[in-house]
């Protein structure tokens, strides 16, 4: 059943955490496929195992059962085949912007004149060229998050994992940065898997939204999103008539109790 088009495939994946108090099942028997070039968002109640799912795909965690295929192959380790973007930018304050962007290449031993130039051109392309010799504290939160994205793009991963990448930003900045990041990801034609608990953000950015159940995480429903707006960018999507419909549907699925 493996087709060229499927880049990530989770088959009956389970993950248990062990502690002295006992074991916790974070993910249970989860099967899911992600297509190349797709932007997929995972939403679910807090603490349901969303981040665990990303850690599994990245290879940071090994599943307790089931298998994870990336481009049809099993990966048992973190080899830098995925780019991981965390909640905060985690730029190193002792490195310049350029050297922050190069860190992935340094670690992979892939830093050479060519990859350095490519990193520089990415910075230029996305409006950060003039800041390459600056230090992180001199940049705004939104710019820093863009640098964080370019840092993951510099290693040229097939898949980007975004773990609530805008959670640390204030609301206005968040909308703008989400738009920027989305455009960059589309321009670089990357596959993206994002985790968030902001339903509006999920709908505005994704092609598909996956709703997870409470822990242990299983798939509750998958929503294919289709918008009638002429230009499909996150900000424009929010104005589309379908937006509200999807919002209500997913909100009900999440079954939020306070």
């Amino acid at each position: 059943m493996v087709t060229e088009d499927i880049i990530v495939s989770l088959r009956n994946v389970s993950k248990k955490y062990h502690s002295l108090e006992g074991e916790t099942e974070a993910v249970k028997d989860l099967t899911m496929e992600v297509h190349r070039g797709e932007f997929i968002t995972i939403v679910g109640p807090s603490g349901c195992g969303k981040t665990t799912l990303l850690s599994l795909i990245s290879g940071l965690f090994i599943p307790s059962a089931g298998e994870i295929l990336l481009s049809g192959e099993t990966k048992n380790d973190t080899t830098g085949h995925v780019g991981y973007m965390l909640q905060e930018d985690h730029l190193f304050k002792w490195r310049t912007i350029l050297r922050n962007v190069l860190i992935g290449l340094e670690i992979k031993g892939a830093l050479n004149a060519q990859s350095r130039e490519k990193a520089k051109s990415l910075l230029h392309k996305y409006g950060l060229g003039d800041f390459k010799d600056h230090y992180p504290h001199q940049l705004s939160g939104g710019m820093r998050q863009r640098v964080a994205l370019i840092r993951t793009l510099a290693i040229d991963p097939d898949i980007l994992l975004l773990d609530e990448p805008f959670a640390a930003l204030d609301y206005q900045t968040r909308l703008k940065v989400a738009d920027d990041i989305w455009k960059i990801i589309k321009k670089e034609s990357k596959t993206a898997i994002m985790v968030t608990h902001d339903i509006a953000e999920a709908i505005s950015m994704s092609d598909r939204v996956v709703v997870l159940t409470k822990r242990p995480a299983r798939i509750k429903s998958i929503h294919n999103l289709d918008f009638t707006c002429e230009e499909r960018t996150p900000i424009k999507c929010r104005e589309a008539p379908e937006f509200r419909v999807y919002f209500n549907r997913i909100w009900k699925e999440l079954d939020v109790h306070v």
Binding site: S58, L60, T78, G83, F92
Partner: protein, 281 residues
């Protein structure tokens, strides 16, 4: 590569530079004046202290045989300078302190790295470190003497041992405070443990390491002077003990003052290194 922060922020502060309002000028003057007042007062206290000391001794309010006095201390310095022993003593003490300080800092950091590297080792050694940390290291002086023998090596060992455990614990705790997400980030790139150490643990712990160094400067002096009290035939600590025994308080006071100056200079030197490191970092 580093540009000082002030330079970069100039564009934002332009209005301050081009457009001095009188009020702003007054403000700057006020800040400058305050700074001068503080410095002048500091120097005045120092001068007043020595002048009062000198006068009190001359008038007979205090007995210079017991308290010494600045003019007698000057004479002592000149005498020590003439026979050259001043530099021998300072040389020994300084050498022992610097070597003890450097060894204590370097070995302490290496031990902290070892503990971070092996969680097993860290858990095993924890109670021993706690005991060693609370033990007054000076109590080990006689043991070191017997094992290593009376001489500069024993004194260096004293300075080393007194700063070692503090450095290890301080730096190790610094390592543990490094944001786990930063380590996670590097691991997603496939970083090895050595790369994590090199790319994030050490640079992120620079400020911890520097504060450990600042504490160590003081501790190294304590170790050296105690060591010299116990064993030595040379050094400022030796001069102090010897001066005390033969009741030459001039010698004792002079040595203490020289010690104060040297310790202050060394502390300044570490502060200077700190600035360099922070800039690079």
């Amino acid at each position: 590569m580093y540009e000082p922060k002030e330079n970069i922020q100039i564009p934002e502060n332009n209005y301050n530079i081009n457009d001095h309002s009188d009020e702003h000028k007054d403000f700057l003057d006020m800040v400058k004046r305050k700074k001068v007042y503080v410095r002048v007062t500091q120097i005045a206290i120092l001068i007043a202290f020595f002048v009062a000391w000198e006068l009190a001794a001359n008038v007979g309010v205090i007995d210079p045989f017991i308290t010494s006095q600045p003019s007698r201390m000057m004479r002592t310095v000149v005498n020590l300078h003439r026979d050259g022993s001043l530099y021998v003593h300072i040389g020994y003490t300084l050498m022992e302190t610097v070597v003890g300080f450097v060894l204590g800092t370097v070995i302490g950091i290496l031990l902290a790295i070892t503990l971070w590297w092996s969680d097993f080792l860290a858990r095993v050694l924890e109670p021993y470190l706690v005991v060693l940390n609370s033990l007054p290291k000076i109590a080990l002086g006689p043991i070191i003497l017997v094992w290593i023998g009376a001489g500069p090596q024993a004194i260096i060992a004293m300075a080393l041992i007194i700063s070692l455990v503090v450095t290890t614990i301080g730096v190790y705790n610094g390592f543990r405070e490094v944001d786990p997400d930063k380590i996670k980030l590097l691991r997603t790139f496939g970083a090895t443990k050595y790369q994590i150490l090199q790319k994030v643990m050490l640079p992120a712990s620079i400020s911890t390491i520097v504060s450990a160094m600042k504490i160590n400067v003081g501790l190294a002096w304590v170790g050296v002077i105690v060591g010299e009290f116990l064993v030595s035939k040379a050094g400022l600590g030796h001069l102090i003990v010897y001066g005390g025994q033969v009741f030459r308080l001039d010698l004792v006071m002079t040595s203490v003052i020289i010690l104060a100056v040297l310790a202050a200079l060394m502390y300044q030197f570490v502060s200077w290194i700190e600035k360099k490191l922070i800039n690079w970092y």
